[in-house]
Structure formats: C-alpha cells, structure tokens
C-alpha cells in the first residue's frame, strides 16, 4: 500500500518537495481540494512574461506578397519571436512546476495544455505557447469546460497551429476574390482530440461543416483594417469577409448564418455532447489512475461531467474522491514528471538552482525525449508506460540520475527517500540505497528506483 500522502504529492502533484509529505499529513484529499478553492495566482515566473496581444503587436503589418503568402518580413518577425520567447517561456513553465506549493494545479495546467496541444514543432507557434497556457488554460482549470474549450480553440496559438488562421470560406468574399478555401485541420482535431474523440460519432461531412463554421477566426495583426473586424478575443479576431456564408449542418443540427456566434454556439454543443463527457473522463482517469483505467472510474467522472454541465471544479473534486485513484501502483512517470520531481525533491528554489534551474530542466528534458512545448503531434505527449519505458530512454535516465547524484554529494540520501517516496520504498530499493558504495550513487539509485520512476 502506498501511503495516501505520497500519492497526493506524487500522483496528483508533481512530486514531493522537502517537508511536503509532512504538511499533507493525514488529510491528503483536503490538501488537494484546498488547491481547487484557492485563488490560483499565476506563478511569478509566468506572470512576468508579456501576453499574446503584446507579442502580436510587435509584428510588422499584415501584408501579403504577390503569391498570396505572408511576406518575408512577417515570417522573419514570427521566427524571431519564437527564438526570443521560447527559451524564456519554457524555462518559466518548468520553474513554476518545480517550485509550486500547489503542484496539483501545475499538473492540471500540464494535463490540459497537453489535451489542447499547441506544439513548437510549428515554428510560427513557438513564441505563443507560454501565453497560450497562461491565457487559455490557467484561468479555466476549475471553471466550465466550455469556457476552456472556447479559450483554447479561439486562441491565436491554436488558430495558427491547426491552420484556421489561413482557412477561408470558399464562398466568402475573400475566398472568392483570392481563390482560397477551407483548411480542415482545426475542425478535425477539435472533434477528434479535444471533444468527441475519434469514435465520437462524426463524419467527414461534419468535418467540412465545422471547418466552414470556424472560418473567419484568425489572428490579429497590426495593420488589419479595423472595419474588417467584427469581434476580438485576446489577440484573435473574427473577420466576416473570410467567413463562409450560409447555413451549416453539423451532427444533425443546423446552424444559422450567424457569423462569429456560430463558433461559440457549436463549441457549446460540442462541450455538452455525451461523447465529450466520456472522452474527457477517460483521459483524466488514464492520467490519474492507470494506463488502462477502470471503467467504473471513467463512468463516474463522465456522469459528474454531464450532470454539472462540465463544471471542472466538480469533476476534479470527484476525481480526488475516487477510491480507484488512491490504489494500484499508479503510473510510470513521463520524463517531464520525473525531472520535475527530481528538482522538487531537492527543494529547487529554496537554496539551490538560482535563475537557471528552469533552463537546466528544459535542457535535460530535451535529452530525455520530452523537449518542453515540442509535443510530436496535435495529440500531445503520450500518457502510457508503453510509450515512455524503452531501453534507450531508461539508460538516459540512469545517466542523468548519476549526474544528479554527483552534483548532490552533500545531501543525505535517506532524507531524500523520506521526503519523496517515504514508506512506499520497497525493501530492495531501500537496501540498494543504504548499501550503495557512495552517497552520489545512493542518490542516483533512489532516482531510478521503481518507486521513484512511478507516481
């Protein structure tokens, strides 16, 4: 049996910091629920960064070349934004994760950011991922799912990443004049990955219709004539003459010709769809319980989701109260989980690490195959051991563990054991740590012990 405080700190949180297990004490569920009701101030390292609108305002005016592609100076400015901002944003995110006193909140930021993946593999997006998380994800963690969905879908980073920013209604004025048309990318992934799930009951025709509904939503660039803009939303704008006119029929329901309101209405319906409840419930259960989550847990979460109209505070509370989440042997830690847990174990930020700790974590994660903000596809990082436990990646973790051990030679290994996995450590692991030939090796062994590799 893994003690509940250990599960609260490691499975729900991002790994115990020194003293945290004691602070959690005998009320692990209360410790987690307090994080839901607290004000959720944005961590200082992230609040210090400029937002999307400020960043977009620095781009050169929106001009198109003769070939209809954005002009070179705009592309170069976007790439410069990525080069300048990516390293700072990624380090700030890691810094927040490793120092947070409310690391359940930080895990949920990572979870929902992964659900609504925007990846720096598209260089145009790399400079906006930090603000995406701050503006679209953080404010809605414990709000209604529909608000999270709207904020994520209509954020400039998502509109760029899944190409809606360049999707034109074929019969819109701009589409006709420039011979441009639909791009299905956002419409498909929005149903497959963000709401209904791949078997959620939509067809290729639904993808086309949703793509039409989403046309017109693009990013706000300096120089766009104000009269062309019918609605604005945190750096995103709705431009009617790009929007496909006429009625659209999605999942059997007809949507009137309502401009910017079409997307909002559709997102409300998608958020309320039973397939969405089931899909979100499955992903949450997989993340917090097991790679193959028990169907009872999924059903319970889906029921709460539906009953509360997607109230994420209620769903999250129900998750904490699921007995299944407090048993079993949990999950194999993804590299992000494992590296953040190591930094937290040594109390990063208290008396070590300095300003560079976020940057060094980013670098290590790059070596371990999970470079921050660089998810391989719109589906995000995988969430199962089969994807992360491979020969080469285990060896890379052992290499890194040994390097950490050497750097922490002054630390008492048993103190780190007690502060992280505590009584959950197996007899074999404890024996290995206690009988290691040196302190660095003892620490390194703990970090690659089966108990520390899991959460």
């Amino acid at each position: 049996m893994i003690p509940a405080a250990v599960i609260a700190a490691n499975r729900f949180g991002l790994g115990a910091r020194p003293g945290e297990l004691a602070a959690i004490g005998s009320d692990p569920r209360g410790w987690l629920k307090a994080q839901i009701s607290s004000a959720n101030a944005i961590p200082a390292s992230i609040a210090a960064q400029p937002g999307t609108e400020a960043r977009l305002a620095e781009l050169p005016p929106a001009t198109m070349g003769a070939d209809g592609q954005p002009q070179k100076d705009l592309i170069q400015a976007v790439l410069k934004l990525a080069r300048d901002r990516y390293p700072v944003d990624a380090a700030a995110a890691l810094d927040a994760a490793m120092t947070s006193q409310t690391s359940f909140v930080e895990r949920l930021v990572a979870f929902w950011s992964n659900h609504f993946t925007v990846s720096a593999l598209r260089p145009a997006v790399a400079g906006l991922i930090g603000p995406f998380q701050a503006e679209a994800i953080r404010p809605h963690l414990f709000g209604r799912f529909v608000d999270l969905l709207k904020a994520a879908t209509l954020h400039p980073a998502m509109l760029l990443y899944l190409d809606n920013a360049v999707s034109f209604g074929p019969d819109s004025r701009a589409g006709q004049r420039r011979d441009k048309g639909l791009n299905e990318n956002l419409a498909r992934e929005l149903m497959e990955l963000h709401t209904l799930g791949v078997n959620g009951g939509y067809t290729q025709n639904d993808v086309r219709e949703l793509a039409k509904i989403l046309t017109g939503w693009t990013i706000h660039r300096p120089g766009q004539p104000e009269r062309a803009i019918a609605a604005e939303r945190g750096g995103a704008v709705f431009i009617p003459f790009i929007h496909e006119p006429g009625q659209k029929t999605l999942l059997g329901k007809t949507y009137g010709d309502a401009g910017q309101n079409e997307a909002e209405e559709v997102l409300e319906d998608l958020a309320r769809h039973p397939s969405t409840a089931r899909f979100i419930a499955t992903k949450l259960a997989r993340h917090f319980i097991a790679d193959d989550p028990p169907s009872s847990a999924v059903a319970t979460l889906a029921e709460t989701f539906t009953k509360t109209d997607g109230d994420l505070a209620a769903v999250t509370t129900r998750l904490i109260d699921l007995d299944e989440a407090w048993g079993g042997d949990g999950k194999y830690r993804a590299p992000y989980d494992w590296v953040v847990a190591i930094f937290r174990a040594f109390g990063a930020g208290d008396n070590s690490g300095g300003d560079q700790k976020g940057h060094s974590a980013v670098q290590v994660l790059d070596h371990l195959g999970q470079r921050p903000f660089f998810a391989p596809s719109p589906a995000g990082w995988p969430d199962d051991a089969a994807s992360w436990l491979a020969p080469e990646s285990l060896l890379a973790r052992i290499d890194y563990a040994q390097a950490v051990g050497k750097a922490r030679a002054e630390t008492d290994p048993m103190k780190i054991v007690d502060g992280t996995v505590g009584p959950a450590i197996s007899a074999e692991s404890r024996f290995s740590v206690e009988h290691a030939p040196s302190r660095p090796e003892a620490i390194a062994l703990l970090l690659v012990s089966p108990e520390f590799l899991r959460r």
């Binding site: 209809g68 592609q69 593999l121 899944l162 190409d163 360049v166 999707s167 034109f168 074929p170 589409g175 441009k180 048309g181 639909l182 791009n183 299905e184 990318n185 498909r188 497959e192 990955l193 791949v198 290729q204 993808v207 290590v364 790059d366 070596h367 371990l368 195959g369 391989p376 596809s377 589906a379 089969a386 994807s387 992360w388 436990l389 491979a390 020969p391 080469e392 990646s393 285990l394 060896l395 890379a396 052992i398 290499d399 890194y400 563990a401 040994q402 390097a403 197996s426 074999e428 692991s429 290995s432 290691a436 030939p437 090796e441 390194a444 062994l445 690659v448 012990s449 089966p450 590799l453």
Partner: protein, 403 residues
Amino acid sequence: MLSRRHLLSLTGSAAAMGLLPVRLALADAPTDARFVLAIQRGAMDGLHAVPPYGDPNYAALRGTLALSDKAGLDGVLDLDGRFGLHPKLTELKAWYDQGELLVVHAVATPYRERSHFDGQDLLENGTIQPHAGDSGWLNRTIGLMGPTAGDQRLGLALGEDVPLALRGKVKVASWAPANLPAAAPDFLNLVSAMYAKQPQLGDTLRQAISADAMADQAMGANAGMVPLRPNNAARILAEAGGKLLAQDNGPRIAVLELQGWDTHTNQGLGANGRMAQALQQMNDAFAALKSGLGAAWSKTVVMTATEFGRTARPNGSGGTDHGTATALFLGGGAVAGKRVIANWPGLEFAQLYQNRDLAPTTDFRAVAKGVLAAHLALPQDALSNVVFPQSGQVRPMQELLRA
C-alpha cells in the same frame, strides 16, 4: 569523454557477472537479410512525392501543387514517362537508375477514416482496426524468424522510444545518441541488482546495455553527443541504423521514423515549402542509411509506410487535407527496381475516392507480405494469420525482389 565501450573494456567485474555483454554472441543470425521500415508520420502526399505527371488530369487537378514536366527546380525527375519523383529525391532517383528502387502507387492500408492517430495505429498493429492489439506486425515478424543465439536482438528501434510496429512479446533494442555523460558500468550493475524483482525494468535495462555495447562496437567512440533536431534526427539515426544493421551479429529489422508530412499549409512545390523539406530529410536519411550499411546494402530492403495519403486537390491554403491512397517506396540492393507498379485509378473527378482522394487500388499489406515472404522467407499462413491477421484474401505481391 570515455564512451561506454571504453569503460566496459576497463571493467572486468560486471562482465564476469554475466551482466554486460562485452563480447556479443557470435553465432549465426537466422538470416542475412536486412529490412528497414521507414514510417512517415503525418500522412505523405503521394501525388506530390511521386507525381503522376503523365496523367492528362494531373496539372489541372493539382493546380498550384503541380510540378512541371520541364527540368528545373520545380520539375519532376522522370521515372517512366508516366510517373516522376519530386526534385528533392535525387538519391532515390539514383537508386532507381541503378535498379534499386521500386515505387508502388495508389496504395492504402485497410483504414478508410482520416484520423492520423487511428491510421498510424492500424498501420503498425497490422490488423484491420485501430487499437486492436498492443503488438506490432514487425514484432510478430521477428517472432517468426527463429531463435537467436545469446544476446542478439533482431529488432531495432531508431530513437529513444519503441514504436508500436516493434512492440510486443519479442524483446527489441533501441538506439539514440546519448547526450548525457554515460553512467559507469559499475553503477549500471547496482541498478540492475536493484531491479532483480522488477522483470520489466530489468529486461529493459539489459536490452539497453546490449544495444549500447553494439553501438560502440559498430560506431566507435563517435556514437552519441549529437543533439537530435527535427532537421537532422532522421539522418543521424539512419546512418547509425545502417551501421548497426551491418554488424554480423547485429539486428536485422529496424524502424526509422520520418516526420513533417502533415502539410495542411505551405506545402510548396519543388524547391521550397514543407513538402520539399520533408522529402529532402527523407532523401538525406536514406543516403545515410545506405552509406552506413556498406556491403550489407545488397541484402537490404527499405520500405516506406504512411497512415494515408492526402486530398488530390489542394485545400484552401496552399496545402492538402487528410486523404486515402498514397505512394510507397521499396529501396535497397535486394529490390528488383527501376519500376513503378500501379493499377492506376485515374484522376478524373469520378475516379477519385469520395470525389476527393486518390483511390486505393493496392493494399499496403499485399506489398508488405510480398516483401516479407521473399526477403525473410516467412510462410504464407503465418503472414495471413499472425503478421497481418485476417488477411488471407490479400495476396502477397510477387517478384518485388531480385531472384
């Protein structure tokens, strides 16, 4: 910095315990044939990579994405007067001219929906539905190849993780350049002892050590310390993969992953754009693979595989959306090349699948079964029931390889 290999040779104790395979098994492998599966994640546009430029409807259908039949930066590299290669595929053109490249066009797996993730899952699990199992068809292939001696692992994943195609009962190796200073063998020994009652972690560690020793043997101390980036990862992994496969006692089956195919925008034409970039990376990776293989190239088949093709017409933003059939490359010294095999469906509106995609006329499994039967001597019933279950009616393509 010392590589692991040097450390291993300095350390007798671990080897004496039988933990570290300082000397790899020298017994004969069950086969001399090498097979590399190159998975193109994101859905490659077959009409762009292998333009059917002799089709009378090609230029009008493809519009801004139509390559020219004239030589130049945007001109096709002609294959047979009907089909050509994208101008970035110069290495593949050279293979073709030497009889080492065969192209199969209008190919698709049995999957007819348009989700990347389900499509890739089915492509790798080898069944007729996504998520139908947790083993891959290449892992099951290896399981049929017969026993190996000692520590030899026939399967090799190039990259830190093992793709589904190679996951399953048979243990496989993986290789990626190490970017962190290598842990000392004595420490690996301590970790291994700690994992004594943890079969999964223990096995994984043993596989890692074995692959690492093999890599040092194949590549010397130069292995590692190269940060992988999207623009160099495939080339670095392919070259290393070639060297590992070339070893007498090395792996025989490898999987290489190629990225960058999901070209919804800025697909470009011949010289620029996302497609040119993805094809260039593939071209360079294949050149590196061949160079790494050395003499073993003559016994090699490289096969590409992607989850589906893309829309035949450009979408509204200079790209293409998810489609159905695509093109497939078979390269290598063992291939009976200089041919394009296509039961060509045509590009007229009514000939397109659902009026939008290149129609599939060849089942991906027919190609794969043809290669596995001829190259690895797998029996028909195993191919139809184990490797690609329920594929009895899909006949293996004949005469893909040199006699």
